[in-house]
Symmetry: none
DNA sequence: CCGTAACCGAGACGGTACGTCGAGTCTTTGA
DNA sequence: TCAAAGACTCGACGTACCGTCTCGGTTACGG
């Protein structure tokens, strides 16, 4: 008896290379044109794919861009720099570097804006981007607890709330600095910000 | 003595009521349709005005929405609740309340997204919205210094940097909480957030 | 008090030159591409006009082609060659010459085919093309009656029926010869046909 | 001697039932949708067949519809009503009845229209439909000659020309009456038409 | 009785045109 | 000069079919 995969049975299978080509083309178009001038027809052409192929796989511009941008954040990792403060600084700098790239800037805020009126889209953003990078916060806390910099957290509910708060503060501040204030989140700024964050967490514990 | 503004010389003068009607119509359309489905033709119709009139006063959708949203934030004020922490809590709650309104949510993020590729637009946002509310931070610090909660700031450069940082952290965290995480910035969250912020500022001073 | 023409009051008036340009472009496209490969986008481009302008004036391909083809038949006239038989021969030859032109061939049958499922279209064809050329039959009969070749028609009902019959026979035979049999309706054929027609009318009177 | 059918050699043979199912489905679709809205995908679905199968047997929409319509005319036959005039009336009425059916109307004119730009298609129409029904004219003449209603035709060239002319007149008139004038070719009309035709032929002989 | 070759269904593919919609401009009449 | 009205150009939208292709699977026949 063989394992029956009832999916993907009849008909010509989808070209698996097309997905990657389309997402790459999307990022390239975001760099050159920005969100508002990006057209799906153009993306299809760049990817060497028909418009219909694109629409067969994504519901629209929003969903496509979420996926294209989400891949950018997968390269984030938590460097082990020896102390909690330095670890945070490191990852915040990485985050800032990604946000400084035009394909991230241009796309991310736009889909967030769209998500204010589209719950499915917000959920997609949360699961594809936010939730996926939450691992960094958890990993950082675990490492700090192992080092003895943070006490073990007895109440898991409270722990989750703290993780959420940290995420909102970190991501929010970097995004606001970069996109609204329009200034670079450079080393100096990150150091000041990290000092405030660490101090706040310590004193509020 | 009458001031002769050479701009307004001959011909039929612009209807001054139209501006307000257009901005109100824009906000109403933002509520009902959201940014991406808002059309200038529709706004003109709602305002009882021809499209031409609208284009004579604003360069396009982006500029119009910035102005429409900017007015929303003018109602912010710093309540005197007796202590720095309570003052901050109060203003952050007000800010969160405005951001929870659909016309703010929908419009603000969209124009920020557009601004990533349009310097003039970013400048317009900064001057119409951000800069204008920076007064709250300054006011708060002054009041806290008068109360003795904060020491006087000797270095004005350093002071400005701190104000910027606070603004990025506050605005960024609330925006991220509301729009990305999709959870309400309610009293409980604001209290936690404020505790971290105050603690961080105190310890990093 | 002046006569108020409530039509054409406010707003920019339609460019009257565009109609002619579009119809001419349509005929040109019919010649080069034929009905089935003619696209409204292409016609618009040829006419130097936006697609929307075209759709503002015609409901679709069918209506447009009817109007474009109808103009071709307006050049038909009844020559006075001295006898009924010669008059008929002359006009049938003209009709055959028009039908031999590719823009007529290609378009006319196609819209007739469409009209089998669209009563409004059939009516448009009837009033724009058929009814308009019915004048030739009436004119020919009147002239023949003046010459004494035909007796005056006492019953108008019967007269109308005869006119319809003649029209169906003449138009039908020429169209079938040209488009279905695929042979030219040349002088020889027209002479044979006319002889049969005249003979038939005389004997059935 | 063995029958060498080099065509059908190896491999799975074509399902012979599919052809009939496809042609029937085509006629059904013509009735419901008309030529222009008939799609090959839909026909395939109706016939319970894959699009590939259809394309393996017909080159395209035009060829398919010609074959589907051609079958309709095979039911025509020349009734023996005793006189030439009555025989013609009978067959013309049958022809009119077929043309009144929507699947004939809708399809026939459309492929004729297409054929104006496609010689291969015109030839297919001629051989599948026109030529095939020419037999009726020949048969009718032969019968009339046997009855003594028509003299024997000495010149075969002239005879062929006459047959062609009759066919163009009969088919053309009925088609024009039905499809362009949009009126029924009923008994009364057919009687008038036949009288003219017979009279014309007699007088021109 | 086994391979080969053509068939079959399903459905993805690259294209092309569709008809609509919105942006932003222009041209009219009228205030 | 501004205002209302509405036609204008332009370009993207998302959909629908076309005709082709690529699958896995199914018949027949011929060795």
């Amino acid at each position: 008896m063989q394992s029956r995969t009832p999916a993907s049975r009849a008909g010509r299978p989808r070209d698996p290379a097309a997905d990657a080509a389309i997402l790459a083309a999307t990022r390239q178009a975001l760099v050159e044109l920005g969100w508002s001038k990006l057209t799906l027809g153009d993306v299809a052409t760049r990817a060497g794919v028909a418009k219909t192929t694109l629409y067969r796989r994504w519901a629209g511009k929003n969903e496509l861009v979420v996926d294209a941008v989400a891949e950018l954040f997968d390269e984030l990792e938590l460097p082990d720099r020896g102390s909690l403060a330095d670890d945070i600084e490191g990852v915040v700098l990485q985050f800032a570097a990604i946000l400084a790239r035009p394909e991230a800037k241009s796309g991310l805020m736009a889909v967030v804006a769209e998500a204010t009126r589209d719950d499915a889209l917000r959920e997609r953003i949360r699961s594809s981007i936010v939730e996926r990078q939450m691992r960094l916060v958890l990993q950082g806390r675990a490492r700090a607890q192992k080092r003895g910099e943070l006490p073990p957290e007895p109440d898991p509910r409270e722990a989750a709330r703290t993780v959420d708060l940290i995420f909102d503060v970190v991501a929010g501040a970097v995004v606001h600095r970069t996109l609204v204030s329009g200034k670079a989140a450079d080393e100096e700024w990150v150091r000041s910000f990290t000092r405030v964050l660490i101090g706040g967490l310590a004193s509020s514990a």
